[in-house]
Each structure stands twice: as structure tokens, then as C-alpha cells.
Subunit: 148 residues, 2 copies
């Protein structure tokens, strides 16, 4: 397991900001919870004021397969280009479902995805990513606030 | 000017988590942008999955005084206790307007506010805060992602 500390995050997020900057997004949607610190940091770096969140949940369908539900409270108001960010595309199911949902529900908007990590076995490859994940990544926000 | 780095943030956020934990919140609303990293970190520490955002903007009303607009895309679904977080209550106008707005629009929900910094001259005192701000605070997210 790799502990991914704030310094790692800072360096990689600055790389990701450089990659996406030419596309000039008007809003960032951060996937809760893993994508929220990244959404904030990229919004600061790209000078984007609008940040909203999306959340998914896995429901156990009475002994059958699990189903992914998307809780979408996003409000768009004329935006043309929106950046969707998450920490990692691991299985890729969350990002895959969210990107399909957003592109179908808001077909006038161009959605682009970005993540810090991408696993080669993911069913979805983010449009922009920085690191290939070869082992389990423990992000600092998952560890540093459990002390209380 | 005080540079507030990640280590300062980590220590103070853990203190804030300890203070609010007994109240058992079901959702966190982070005020964009300054409250977003705090919202994520507290959600991890308190094990709260629901995180949404609120945003304000100051409009210049044709040479008269500025007016604060609240962009509220929050969706509530039976929550009883919601925690509203921001980095700092400086003038306090943002938090004051947001708390009044939320309490009046969603009168069935109990809203509680928390911030890392509170300035004694603020017109609004958060229910929970950690540090008194005596000088300008530069948060790490305002500085660390401007390198690109």
C-alpha cells in the first residue's frame, strides 16, 4: 500500500492543472468524497469559482448484484465546458457511470474527466490522468483525519 | 501575512472534528471555494458520505453598494442535522447570509456552522471555530496550485 501524502498530491495536481488548462473550463464537478480536495485545488489553480459535487452509492439489491446510484444535485446555467474530477479510476465504474449520466442528461455541455490515478484494468480511462496505480493508494485525506 | 500550511490545517481540522463529533451530522455543506478542502477532510474524519457545496458572489450594483448572491444547489432528503463549513469568518457576511438563507429555506433542518478561523470583528460567530485570526491568513490551497 502506498501512502500518498500532501506533497505528492501538490506536485501531481499542479501537473494535472497544466494539462487541462488549455481547455478553459467554466465549472468543476468533484466526485464525493474522493474528488473533493482535488476539485478545490484545481479550482484555485485554474481560477474557476464554480465547484459542485456529485455522489454515488452502491446498493445491495437483495442478494443479487450491486447497483450504482448517482445523486446528482448539479445545477448548470449556460456552462459549455465542465471538468469532472475524481481521485482515482480504479474499477472505473463510478467515473464511467457518472460521465454517461452527465453526457446524456446535459447534452449541451461538454464534459471532460480528470483523475490523479488510473489503473490499467479500469473500464474507463479519464481524459486526463497523471499516475498509473499499480498498488492500493491511501490518500492523505483518508488517513490524516482519523485521529480524533 | 500568515501562511497556513497543510500541517497547520491537519492539526486544526482534527481539533474541529473532535469538537463537532458529538452532534452527529448527516451531511456537510462546504462553502465554495474556501470551505471545500475542509468539508472533504471533516467528512472523512466524521465518516459522513454526503457533501454538497454552496457558493456566493458579490455583485456590484451600478456604483451603489455590493450585494451578496447565494447560489444554492443543495438537495436535502430527510436530513435533520447539517454541518456548514468555511475556512474563515472574516467580515462574516458570507456565513451570516448563508446561515440565514439555509435556516429560512429549510426550516425543518438544524444547521450548525464551523470554521477554522474567526475574526473578532466578524458580524457572525461560527458555532465552532479553532483560531482567532489577527492577521491575513493565506491558506495553502490559495498558494500551492498557482505554479503552473
Amino acid at each position: 500500500m502506498k501512502y500518498y501524502n500532501y506533497e505528492n498530491f501538490k506536485n501531481d495536481t499542479n501537473k494535472l492543472i497544466k494539462k487541462v488548462r488549455p481547455l478553459e473550463f467554466e465549472m468543476i464537478v468533484g466526485i464525493a468524497r474522493g474528488g473533493l480536495t482535488l476539485a478545490h485545488s484545481m479550482a484555485e489553480g485554474l481560477d474557476i469559482r464554480e465547484v459542485q459535487t456529485l455522489r454515488t452509492e452502491l446498493y445491495d439489491k437483495t442478494c443479487k448484484r450491486e447497483e450504482l446510484s448517482i445523486f446528482d444535485s448539479c445545477k448548470f446555467d449556460g456552462e459549455k465546458r465542465v471538468l469532472v474530477v475524481d481521485d482515482i479510476a480504479d474499477s472505473g465504474e463510478t467515473l464511467d457511470a457518472i460521465m454517461k449520466h452527465l453526457k446524456s442528461k446535459y447534452s449541451d455541455i461538454e464534459f471532460t474527466s480528470a483523475a490523479l490515478f488510473y489503473k490499467k484494468t479500469s473500464i474507463y480511462e479519464p481524459d486526463f490522468w497523471i499516475n498509473e496505480a499499480n498498488e492500493w493508494v491511501e490518500f492523505f485525506w483518508e488517513k490524516d483525519f482519523k485521529e480524533g
